[in-house]
């Protein structure tokens, strides 16, 4: 097996692993606790409750797990910060907002493997001595709400949740909180505002949520997929876990693939699998055997890449070297027939719609970019529009309150960098 040179010289470990995050999901009753327990579910919880909380945090640190919500922050380090803060109570929030266009990787866990997430959250709660957890679930997943609430009730009835978790005298309560259609609420501080019943506008950092989060108390926010990795780390141990996938960001990774491939869907693969393998091996290649034009590798906010970049391993270390980001692992594939100017316009229209309005460069600048793209796209672009577009984007970069505005600017800059001629062809 060739491919993927990881950082530090060790090749990406491509040993085909059994499914961890998507284990069992073909089973029609996969969301039911009995089936989950039958295949080893909640064993990691029993094991974790025999450990000291600080040992669990060390284990997560040593595992090398990095957050799967987009930024790739080391999970163990985040937990250690929160653990070091003595304020009480502490809260664990699961980010199930999954709003990044192209992303649908958390949905199978939420709808088909909810106990994996719940088990991960109980272990995290114990490790951090947090007694309350909330799953912030996007409003667009109404079925997942019912499934999660049923699963929480089952876990409660089994004694895994509540006032006396597993008979160990530990308290952990878990609730689902439904968002209502605001992408920005996936940003962690906006999520907290929203959970507090306010408009979902980001907060200034510092203070960071690990010190002053929900109700000004220490708060750990992790993505669904991040938390779903925790039981497995406890089960097999940090050392074995660190052997999976890319050396500097190990573990199984969910890639959600959409667009012009023969078999789109969510794939659980070792971190660091190349885009080529994902697109051509796992997804069966380009629909209708057309030519590949471009890929957005990590959700709409991540820089678009031309077809010749697909040998890059999909992980937090290698994607930035190739000029993009792993983001949420949402691979959007475009064949040779796609009008990329239109794609860029639609993407920026999304950001305009989702800008929370708090800061001017984003609120106004993204609207200007949309207006310029709209006229280029419909054939009424003017000479100089492409440079104007780039200039506006440069005036957004680095000047916004949260990464949403920056992300929008980056989208435009990278479409223009790799596919400028397509924009030029539209301006007569």
């Amino acid at each position: 097996m060739g491919g993927g040179e990881g950082e530090g010289g060790r090749a990406v470990n491509k040993t085909v692993m059994g499914k961890v995050l998507l284990k069992n999901i073909e089973n029609p009753n996969s969301a039911d606790i009995a089936g989950y327990i039958k295949t080893g579910g909640y064993k990691a919880l029993s094991k974790a409750l025999e450990l000291k909380p600080s040992d669990i945090i060390d284990e997560v640190k040593r595992s090398g797990l990095r957050g799967r919500g987009g930024a790739g922050f080391p999970t163990g380090m985040k937990w250690a910060f929160a653990a070091a803060d003595s304020k009480k109570p502490k809260f664990i929030l699961c980010n199930a907002d999954e709003g990044e266009p192209g992303t649908f990787k958390d949905r199978p866990i939420l709808e088909k493997n909810p106990h994996l997430l719940i088990e991960g959250m109980i272990i995290s709660g114990y490790a951090l001595q947090a007694e309350y957890g909330y799953i912030y679930l996007r409003g667009e997943y109404p079925k997942a709400k019912d499934i999660l609430e049923d699963a929480i009730k089952q876990a409660h009835d089994k004694g895994y949740l509540g006032e006396d978790v597993h008979g160990k005298g530990i308290r952990f309560h878990l609730h689902v909180h439904q968002g209502a259609g605001a992408y920005i609420c996936g940003e962690e501080t906006a999520l907290i505002e929203s959970l507090e019943g306010k408009r979902g506008q980001p907060r200034i950092k510092p203070p960071f949520p690990v010190n002053e989060g929900f109700l000004s108390k220490p708060t750990i926010i992790n993505n669904v997929e991040t938390l779903a990795n925790i039981p497995y780390i406890i089960e097999i141990g940090a050392d074995a876990y660190a052997e999976i996938g890319s050396p500097d960001c190990p573990g199984p990774k969910l890639y959600s693939v959409s667009g012009h491939v023969k078999r789109p869907g969510v794939y659980e693969l070792p971190m660091g699998t190349t885009l080529r393998e994902i697109i051509y091996n796992h997804c069966g290649g380009i629909l209708g055997d057309k030519k590949l034009k471009a890929v957005i590798p990590g959700g709409i906010s991540t820089p678009i890449l031309p077809a010749d970049a697909i040998d890059c391993p999909m992980d937090f270390v290698n994607m930035p070297k190739r000029g993009s980001m792993l983001g949420s692992g949402a691979v959007m594939v475009f064949d040779e027939t796609v009008d990329l100017v239109k794609v860029c316009y639609r993407a920026i229209k999304f950001f305009e719609h989702e800008s929370c309005g708090k800061c001017t460069p984003c609120r106004e600048g993204v609207g200007w970019m949309r207006a310029i793209l709209e006229r280029i796209s419909n054939g009424s672009g003017r000479a100089g529009d492409i440079d104007l577009l780039i200039e506006v984007s440069n005036n957004i970069t680095g000047k916004t309150f949260c990464p949403l505005g920056d992300g929008a600017a980056m989208v435009v800059q990278n479409f223009a960098k790799h596919f400028r001629s397509e924009f030029e062809e539209k301006i007569h």
Binding site: P89, E98, G99, E100, P101, G102, T103, F104, R107, Y132, R138, G139, E140, Y141, P142, K143, H175, H177, Q178, G179, A180, G181, A182, Y183, S194, L195, E196, G197, K198, R199, G200, L215, S256, V257, S258, G259, H260, P264, G265, V266, I296, I300, A330, M332, F334, V338, K342, V343, R346, A347, F350, H353, E354, C356
Partner: protein
Amino acid sequence: MLSENAVKEIGLIRNKYHDVQSSLLPALYVVQREHGWLSPEALKEVGEILNVPKAEVKGVSTFYSMFRHKPMGRHLIQLCTNVACMIMDAERLVDILKSRYGLEPNGTTDDGRFSLIIMECIGACGTAPAMLVDTDFHDNLTEKYIEEILAKYK
């Protein structure tokens, strides 16, 4: 007026949280499920129950695109047109809803059967184009399939 049930449900929701205002979004959902939308009177009542100022309730509810501030049809179609759906021809579906059902984005059919809202990503990109009708997901939509689906919603 909110029903007795709704008021009771909002009371139960309050127990899930350490502070009162955290129950605002869930409370608005309770009302929207019951009435189909959030009228100014309903917003006022929620504010009174939770002891949150009226202006704050309105400011919060209008921030979120899934809260409706005008009456809706019996069934709500939420059709995605974001990039993954767009490249799979979602715009054609918008046209069909217009030409065959007289349904415009943000509009309601004359018979009050359907309302249409254009969505940003609904997390069904692998089976695009996709929509939610009320709380049901429908994906891999085609011109013909969307008509079959809608026929089931009376």
